[in-house]
Each structure stands twice: as structure tokens, then as C-alpha cells.
């Protein structure tokens, strides 16, 4: 029940905020804040003790699980479950959700109630994605988070919002439909082999697939997650969507929506299609490295501050994809830390850009400069998050990228070397932001106010979290370790008692270490 309540609280809060917000904008803000705080407290009270408790060796991977019948005639159940990985991501969602509410506090004046309704429903959809274990339900939540996001961009976005919103929606929807086709394909193949027609994740795991079919189905899933991640050739929606979205929209997009792509790769693509993923790994890793370098180079050449931050996401998320397809313990732990830290640091950078825009009504780097004197506290925070983004040791992003590079190196030394170049580029564009915006000659005279209490608390919390993850990431790694370890074990296909009519495929030889040697 816990998980359902965790998802229902923002849904209900959103409806309430939407209704009351028509009369009173303040009510919508406070209700959203209260609902998310309540949700965060519930998650901490319910999930954290379970997640930090040492697991019994015989127990399944799921810490909490809920299964209700939904459309049982089609083998669809309302199956939610969370392991350590989900718990970490749920906490991240709620934390960044709070930051998103805080940063739209004074930014959104029009139709406030509807805004917070959409924001809360996006967050609920994301929570659903991180916990759904029925593939139909997963797809349901996957789409549920898209529609409110579309409205967030199109109603409260900046100049070019219609174009950006439609582009965003089309990319994610078409890729999502490909995933739906793959889900249904997997469902029937599994049903025909085992006689059990089910969309349940645990049932579908280990479905033996012919190489060609497996590759097609895997690509269907991969398409949806790669677009969301975003991976190199299908990232083109991202700069527009991030740039045009309102600040809260950008925070949720960069901090959470991209993470659903990474989560999908981790949870579904590799465990469901281990063989196909192994065969595809060199390509995926090459795309990831291309994304790392390409995103970094393009980031450096932007003059729009928000667009610049958006391109850095392409670069940073490339590391996550690299790690996922390396599929060893070190890389996966790095991916997890990178997912969290990128969410926090990029989210914070978008918050800062939003604050600058609210004060200056521009995002143009060429018009900034010398702002440090005007807004030293804002500048300080910008410096902090830029350093986090470039991977300064002592902050979380360093831990993530370092673990990823160490983990990937034995499998793909050449790609690792190239990817490490992304770190160098990151330090260039990160320092470039600070130098252009806050240091140097003031190109125009700005009279703007420094951070107020609400803004300082928002950024302070995010900064503290990054510092903590940089200095002592062990609790998070510990929490997710059983989940990651379990995922790495289930890649060996089970053999079904296959009826004679279906050609049963020989199970792939089990790799003793469970390691996936992508490139030797």
C-alpha cells in the first residue's frame, strides 16, 4: 500500500491545487509544497528503514511490493515494487520535486493552479515509472508523465515554446510507441512459449528469444529510453525543450525525466534482453561516447545559458549509458551516483538560470558578466554547482564519473580514454559559465537582488546533498548494491518447459562471474 500512497499523494495534491488555485494562487503553492513534503516524509519513514536493513539472503530483490489485479483477462496487474535502486530514485524525485515547487514560487503568476496540477502529475508519473513492475503499467506511467510535461512547456514556456513542446512530445511518443510494440511482442512470445500470458516483469525475465527477434524487441525498448536519456542521434528534442520550458519544467526534465531513460536501460533493456544487449553493447557504448563529446563541444559554443546547461546533460548522461552497457558492478554503481548527482547539479544549475532570468529577463551569456559584485551569494552557488558539474573531487559527480571510468576501462579501454576527454571539456564549459556570467567586465549595468531565503534554502539543500554524496557516497551505494547485484544475476535465461510446437532455444552459457564482456 505504501507505494500506492506515495503515488496518490502528489496526484491528490495536484487535483486539490488545481481546484483551489483558481481562486487563490498561494493556496496552490502551499498545497503542492505540503503534499511533496508529506510524500518525502512518508518515503523516509516507510522506505528508508526497509532499504537500509540488511537483506536476508533468501529474500527476493523487492523491499516492498504490491500486486493488485487490474485487467486480469489480458494478464495485466497493478504491480508496484521497489528495491534499493527505486528507493534512491524515489527520494531523488521528491527532493527535486520540492526544488521545482520552490523555484516556481514567484516565477509562475498565470494559471497557477493548473501549473501545479501539471507539475504534481508529472512527479506522480515519474514515481510510477520508478516503481511499476508490470510492463503495461510501466508504459501507462511512462506516457502519463509526458502529457502534463507537454502542457508545462506549452503554457508556461518561453518564446519558442510551441515548437519545443511539439518536438518533445513527438519524439518521446513515437519512441514510446515503438516500446509499446516491443512490449506486446515480448508478451506474446513469452505467452506462446510458457502458456502464461502476462505483462509482469518477473514473469517476462529470462524469456528465451531468437537472436533476431531479441534484437528487434530490445531496439524497441532502447529507442524509447535512448530518446529520453537522451542518446546521441536522438537528443535533438532536448536543447529546445529544456530551453523553452519554465524553470520547474527544466528541473524536472533534466533532473528526473532523463533519469527515467537511464532507469529503463538498467531495469528493462539489459535484464530482459541480455543477449541482444550484449551484442548491441559496442554500438551503444560508441553512441554514448559520441554523446559525451558532442554534447560537451556543443555546450561550449552556446550563448544561451539555459541551452548550454541543456547540452551538458547530453554529455553527462552519455556516461550513464556507457556504464549501463558495460554492466559490471563498479560501472553500475558509478551510473547510479551519476544519475543522482547529475539530477541535483543540473537541476540546481537550471534553478540558477531561472533565477537570473526572473531578475534580468534574459538568458544571453553575452549580456551578462561581472554579476558577482551584484549577487555574490548567487554567484557562489553557481560556482559550486559548476564545479560539481565539471567533476571536482569531493563532490558527488566526481565519484560517479570516476567509478564509471574505472568500471568501463577493462572492457573498453579506448572508449574510456575518449570519454575521459569529456571531463576535460566539462571543466572548460563549466568554468566558462562562471567566467562569462559572473566574472570579467560588466557588459551592461544590472541592478538585481541577491538570493532571498527561499532561494538560498533551495540551493543550499541541493548543494549539501552533492557534498554529502561526494564525501560519503557509501550509504547510497550500499542501499542500491543488492538491487544492482540482483539485476546482474538475472541475465542468465531460465529455460521453460517448452511445448514441442515452439522451437526452444538453447540457453546461453552462463557466464560464471555474471560479467558481460562487451568488448575484449
Amino acid at each position: 500500500m505504501m507505494l500506492i500512497i506515495l503515488i496518490a499523494v502528489p496526484l491528490a495534491g495536484g487535483i486539490l491545487a488545481g481546484i483551489l488555485g483558481r481562486r487563490n494562487a498561494g493556496a496552490a503553492r502551499w498545497i503542492s509544497l505540503a503534499a511533496l513534503l508529506l510524500d518525502l516524509i512518508l518515503a523516509l519513514v516507510w522506505l528508508l528503514p526497509v532499504a537500509t536493513r540488511p537483506l536476508a539472503p533468501t529474500a527476493g530483490p523487492w523491499l516492498v511490493e504490491l500486486r493488485l489485479p487490474w485487467i486480469s483477462t489480458l494478464g495485466i496487474s497493478f504491480h508496484l515494487a521497489a528495491d534499493g535502486l527505486s528507493v534512491v530514485l524515489i527520494l531523488l524525485t521528491l527532493l527535486l520535486g520540492l526544488a521545482a515547487v520552490a523555484c516556481s514560487w514567484s516565477e509562475i503568476h498565470e494559471r497557477t493552479g493548473f501549473f501545479f496540477f501539471n507539475l504534481m502529475w508529472v512527479l506522480a508519473g515519474i514515481l510510477g515509472v520508478f516503481t511499476a513492475l508490470d510492463l503495461f503499467l510501466f508504459y501507462f506511467f511512462w506516457e502519463l508523465m509526458m502529457v502534463p510535461m507537454f502542457f508545462l512547456i506549452i503554457l508556461w514556456g518561453h518564446e519558442n515554446r510551441v515548437y519545443a513542446a511539439i518536438k518533445f512530445f513527438l519524439f518521446t511518443q513515437i519512441a514510446g510507441l515503438l516500446m509499446l510494440a516491443a512490449i506486446i511482442g515480448l508478451y506474446f512470445i513469452h505467452g506462446q512459449i510458457s502458456g502464461n500470458y502476462s505483462f509482469d516483469y518477473s514473469a517476462l525475465l529470462g524469456t528465451p528469444l531468437a537472436a533476431g527477434t531479441g534484437m528487434f524487441l530490445m531496439l524497441g525498448f532502447f529507442a524509447a529510453f535512448a530518446v529520453k536519456l537522451p542518446a546521441f542521434p536522438v537528443h535533438v528534442w532536448l536543447p529546445d525543450a529544456h530551453t523553452e520550458a519554465p524553470t520547474a519544467g527544466s528541473v524536472v526534465l533534466a533532473g528526473l525525466l532523463l533519469k527515467t531513460g537511464a532507469y529503463g536501460l538498467l531495469r528493462f533493456v539489459v535484464p530482459l534482453f541480455p543477449e541482444a544487449a550484449r551484442a548491441f553493447a559496442p554500438w551503444a557504448m560508441a553512441l554514448a561516447v559520441a554523446g559525451i563529446i558532442y554534447g560537451a563541444v556543443l555546450a561550449f559554443s552556446q550563448t544561451d545559458l539555459k541551452r548550454l546547461v541543456a547540452y551538458t546533460s547530453v554529455s553527462h548522461m552519455g556516461f550513464v549509458m556507457l556504464a549501463v552497457f558495460a554492466w559490471n558492478e563498479m560501472a553500475l554503481q558509478g551510473a547510479l551516483i551519476q544519475i543522482i548527482c547529475h539530477g541535483l547539479s543540473t537541476g540546481a544549475l537550471f534553478v540558477i538560470v531561472g533565477m537570473l532570468q526572473e531578475r534580468m529577463h534574459t538568458r544571453d551569456l553575452r549580456r551578462m558578466g561581472g554579476l558577482w559584485k551584484e549577487v555574490p551569494r548567487l554567484g557562489g552557488f553557481a560556482m559550486f554547482f559548476a564545479l560539481a558539474s565539471l567533476g571536482l573531487p569531493g563532490l558527488g559527480n566526481f565519484v560517479g564519473e570516476f567509478l564509471i571510468l574505472i568500471g568501463v576501462f577493462p572492457q573498453a579501454p579506448l572508449l574510456t580514454v575518449v570519454a575521459a576527454g569529456g571531463l576535460v571539456a566539462a571543466s572548460i564549459y563549466s568554468l566558462w559559465i562562471v567566467q562569462q556570467a559572473f566574472h570579467g567586465q560588466a557588459r551592461e549595468t544590472w541592478r538585481i537582488s541577491d538570493l532571498n531565503g527561499r532561494e538560498a534554502v533551495t540551493l543550499g539543500v541541493l548543494a549539501a546533498a552533492l557534498l554529502w554524496l561526494g564525501l560519503y557516497p557509501q550509504p547510497v551505494i550500499q542501499m542500491a548494491r543488492p538491487a544492482l547485484a540482483h539485476m546482474r544475476q538475472i541475465q542468465v535465461p531460465h529455460s521453460f518447459p517448452a511445448p514441442e510446437s515452439t522451437a526452444s532455444l538453447p540457453a546461453a552459457p552462463a557466464d560464471p562471474q555474471g560479467e558481460m564482456h562487451a568488448i575484449r
Binding site: 483477462t73 501507462f140 503554457l155 513542446a165 508478451y187
Partner: protein, 476 residues
């Protein structure tokens, strides 16, 4: 015929009775509200008679009709959709002067034709039902005689429908010449693909000609030319009827005809259908892209939707029949709602179908815009709406029979489709507001239809289990 037969036919008899009663009422004295009320009462009585018929189902009544769960489900869909159209018609014609009452008469007549179609199991019943439906539609489409475009649409529909009926008859004649029977089940029982080439040619030609007639009714590409003009010219409630009832009835018939005959018609026939399906999906979605009239846009989108349905019809597996039934129900709901929004915003002189007239609707009439958004999202197949479950069901049916190319076409073309649905949504949410528009108050009967269809749309989208269970029990 025995009493059980009459009981099974009760919905049709009640509907015919209502038709007579409405005619008499108009002869005695014209009263718009009363006529509408009597029409609704007649439709309600026919719906109430469905369980009586269902208690006897499945039963063969004469050689012509088969009353079974499948037919009764579609009959219910037809009757309910007709009731919704009648309510929309009341809202639409309320402010008109002149003869409004015959609209209901023609509507009941068309509904009767559709009800005959969905239970017919014989070519004679098929043709009679189709003609009852079509002839009523000619008059309905041209109902606003003061509008040139309505008259044009009526004539266009008349000429093309009469032409397609000719194809249909010729097709039936060829099949009869080859098989010696007009009965669907007897045709199916007559065996597999004929041995001789000449017989094969006869049968295939017959089926293909049949398909021309059916394809015209369903507006499949390349028989779709009339669709946009007729949709645009007809008054909005009639457009809703053409888009929902007339198509649902023909789809029901097509499935009933093909399900047993599918095997013997051979691969060639399936290929023809597959090409039609793909052409409709691609053509409908591409043609809808640049439309400036919402009615034309929905017309092309309905072409694409019938293409999606054909994928399930082609699948012909155990999941196919419930998939088609569910999809048609979801499609009917969304189309009724969409044209309902247009109907309640239209006046006697202008149909409110220009895309720019929708701009900023969300800020003037938020409820209306929300309803329309829900309908469009359902047509686009976004979760939480019935359209998603329908699309899911259709893809499932296709996947079960490995129609991968059609599924990929479906997926990609619905991506295109998404774009024009979004265009309408975006227009409704845009902040630029046309100056000359004062919101028309929504008439209660129209609001009722829109509310019910929105609630049903969300309900079917989130909890489809009861309906799915029902359909799986009803499918033959």
C-alpha cells in the same frame, strides 16, 4: 417464426415502432422538444429490449438475421450513439426555425438500418440494412437546405454511395454464381480455396468488388474521396453519426463476414486488405496534417482509424474480435465527443469547425476545451483514455498474428497523427484570442452528451476490465 424469434427481434421491432410513432407525432403536430423526447424514449426502449433478446441469443431468426452477443453488443453501441446524436441534434437545431422534426425520423431510420446490418448473416439482409442506412443518410447530410455545402455533400454522398452499392451487388452476384448461396455461414461451410483457377478468379473478384462497397462506407483509401467534403458539409450531429454509427455497423458486418470466410478467401484477399489498411493509415494521417478545418481533420483521422481497425480485422486470431469491438467503442466515444464539441459551438449559419475559432478556447470555455482535449488525446491513443486501451488491443491482436509490418506502419503513422491532434490542442491552449467570438452557452443536452462521453472515456481508459471481460464472452 415462433415467439422466441419475436423476442429475439424485439430491439428491432421496438425501434421500428418508435419510427412509426415519431412519424405519427410529426403528422399530428410539430413540436421539436417532444419529437426529440419521443425519439430518445424509443431508443431507450430498444436498449431496454436488448437483454430480452440477449436471453435468447444466440439464435438464427429466419435465414437473414443472427441475433448473438456480438451483434447485440454492436446494436447497443449503435443505439447509444444514435441517442447521443439525437441529444446533440436537439442542441444543434434548437435555435433553428423551420422543419426540424424530420431529423429525428431520418435518424431513427438510419439507426434501424445500422441495427439490421450488425445482425445480418445473409447478403440480402446486408444489402437491405445498408440501403436503409444510406438512404436516410442522403437526406440527413443535406438536411440544412439553406446551405450550399450541405447540399453538395448530400449529392456527392448520394452519387458515390449509389455507385458503390452497384459494386457491392455485382460482387454478391459473382460470389453467388460461384458458391450458390448468399448465407454467410453456408459460404464459410462451402470449403476452402476453390481448386480451379476460374473459380478462384470468380470468388476473388466477387470479394474484391464487395470490398469496394465496404471500403467506400468505411472511407478506406483509395475509396475515401468523399469523406472530407461530406464531413465538412453535413451538420455536425450528422457528421458524428456518419463517423460513428455508419462505420461501426459496417465494421461489425465485415468482421462477421470475414471471420469464417477468412481462411478460404486465401492469401491474396488478405493481402488486398493489408494494402488497404496500410494505405488508409498512411493516407489518412498524411492528409490530415495540413487541414484548417477541424471537421476535415477529423474526417482524415477517421480514415486512419479505420485503417488501424483493419489491422485487428486482419489478425483474425482469438483476440481480434474483442479488439475490434473495443476499438470501435473507444473510437465511437471519442468521435461523438469531438463532433459534439463542434455541434454545441455551431450556429444556424456557421459550423464552428475553423481551426482558428478554437484558439484560446481553454481560457474562454475551459470545460469545453478540456473535453475536446480528452477526446483528441483518446484519438491519439494516450493512456488514461479509452483510445489507448483500444490501440493497445489492436496492436496485441496484430502481434499475435505476427503482422509486424502493419504494426510498425501503425506505430509510425500514429506518430504523424499525434502531430495534428496536438495542433488542435495547442490552438485551444494558445493565448491569442480571436476578437469577434463571444462564447455560446452550451445547451444542456449537448453538455450531457459531452460529460457522459468524457467520463466513459476515462473510465474505459483506466478500468477496462469489465468491458474486456464482457467482450471476450460475447465474441463468437
Amino acid at each position: 417464426m415462433q415467439s422466441a424469434d419475436y423476442m429475439a427481434l424485439l430491439p428491432l421491432l421496438v425501434l421500428s415502432g418508435a419510427l412509426g410513432a415519431v412519424m405519427l407525432l410529426i403528422a399530428i403536430g410539430r413540436h421539436h422538444g417532444l419529437t426529440a423526447l419521443l425519439t430518445l424514449a424509443g431508443l431507450a426502449a430498444a436498449v431496454a429490449a436488448l437483454p430480452v433478446a440477449a436471453a435468447r441469443a444466440p439464435i438464427r431468426v429466419t435465414a437473414l438475421l443472427t441475433i448473438d452477443g456480438y451483434g447485440l453488443f454492436f446494436m447497443a453501441l449503435v443505439l447509444l450513439a444514435t441517442a447521443a446524436v439525437a441529444l446533440l441534434g436537439y442542441a444543434y437545431f434548437r435555435s433553428w426555425s423551420g422543419h426540424r422534426e424530420e431529423f429525428y425520423l431520418l435518424l431513427l431510420c438510419a439507426a434501424l438500418g445500422a441495427c439490421v446490418l450488425v445482425v445480418s448473416s445473409h447478403f440480402t439482409a446486408f444489402f437491405v440494412g445498408l440501403e436503409i442506412l444510406s438512404i436516410a443518410l442522403y437526406a440527413l447530410i443535406a438536411y440544412p437546405r439553406h446551405r450550399a455545402e450541405s447540399l453538395e455533400a448530400g449529392i456527392k454522398y448520394l452519387v458515390l454511395a449509389a455507385g458503390s452499392a452497384g459494386f457491392l451487388l455485382f460482387g454478391m452476384a459473382l460470389i453467388y454464381a460461384e458458391r450458390g448461396t448468399l448465407d454467410f455461414t453456408a459460404l464459410a461451410a462451402a470449403g476452402g480455396v476453390p481448386a480451379t483457377l476460374q473459380s478462384q478468379v470468380m470468388l476473388l473478384t466477387g470479394l474484391s468488388l464487395l470490398l469496394v462497397g465496404v471500403g467506400f462506407k468505411l472511407a478506406l483509401v483509395p475509396f475515401h474521396m468523399w469523406t472530407a467534403d461530406v464531413y465538412q458539409g453535413a451538420p455536425a450531429p450528422v457528421t458524428a453519426f456518419v463517423a460513428t454509427v455508419s462505420k461501426t455497423a459496417v465494421v461489425a458486418l465485415l468482421l462477421r463476414l470475414l471471420a469464417p470466410m477468412g481462411a478460404q478467401s486465401g492469401a491474396a484477399f488478405s493481402q488486398i486488405l493489408a494494402v488497404l489498411a496500410a494505405a488508409s493509415m498512411v493516407g489518412g494521417n498524411l492528409l490530415a496534417l495540413r487541414q484548417q478545418s477541424v471537421k476535415r481533420l477529423l474526417a482524415y483521422s477517421s480514415i486512419a482509424h479505420l485503417g488501424y481497425v483493419l489491422v485487428a480485422v486482419l489478425a483474425a486470431g482469438p483476440a481480434a474480435v474483442p479488439a475490434v469491438m473495443f476499438y470501435m467503442a473507444a473510437y465511437t466515444l471519442a468521435q461523438l465527443g469531438s463532433f459534439g464539441v463542434i455541434a454545441v459551438r455551431s450556429s444556424r449559419l456557421t459550423e464552428a469547425d475553423a481551426l482558428e475559432s478554437f484558439s484560446g478556447l481553454f481560457f474562454r470555455q475551459p470545460w469545453l476545451a478540456t473535453v475536446f482535449t480528452a477526446m483528441l488525446l483518446s484519438l491519439a491513443g494516450i493512456p488514461l483514455t479509452a483510445g489507448f486501451v483500444g490501440k493497445f488491443y489492436v496492436i496485441s491482436a496484430g502481434a499475435q498474428n505476427h503482422l509486424w509490418w502493419l504494426i510498425i506502419t501503425l506505430v509510425l503513422t500514429s506518430g504523424v497523427g499525434l502531430f495534428y491532434y496536438l495542433r488542435v490542442v495547442v490552438t485551444m491552449f494558445s493565448t491569442s484570442v480571436p476578437v469577434d467570438l463571444t462564447p455560446r452557452p452550451v445547451v444542456f443536452s449537448g453538455a450531457l452528451v459531452l460529460t457522459i462521453s468524457t467520463v466513459l472515456l476515462i473510465w474505459l481508459g483506466t478500468a477496462p476490465e469489465p468491458l474486456v471481460r464482457l467482450l471476450q464472452n460475447m465474441a463468437p
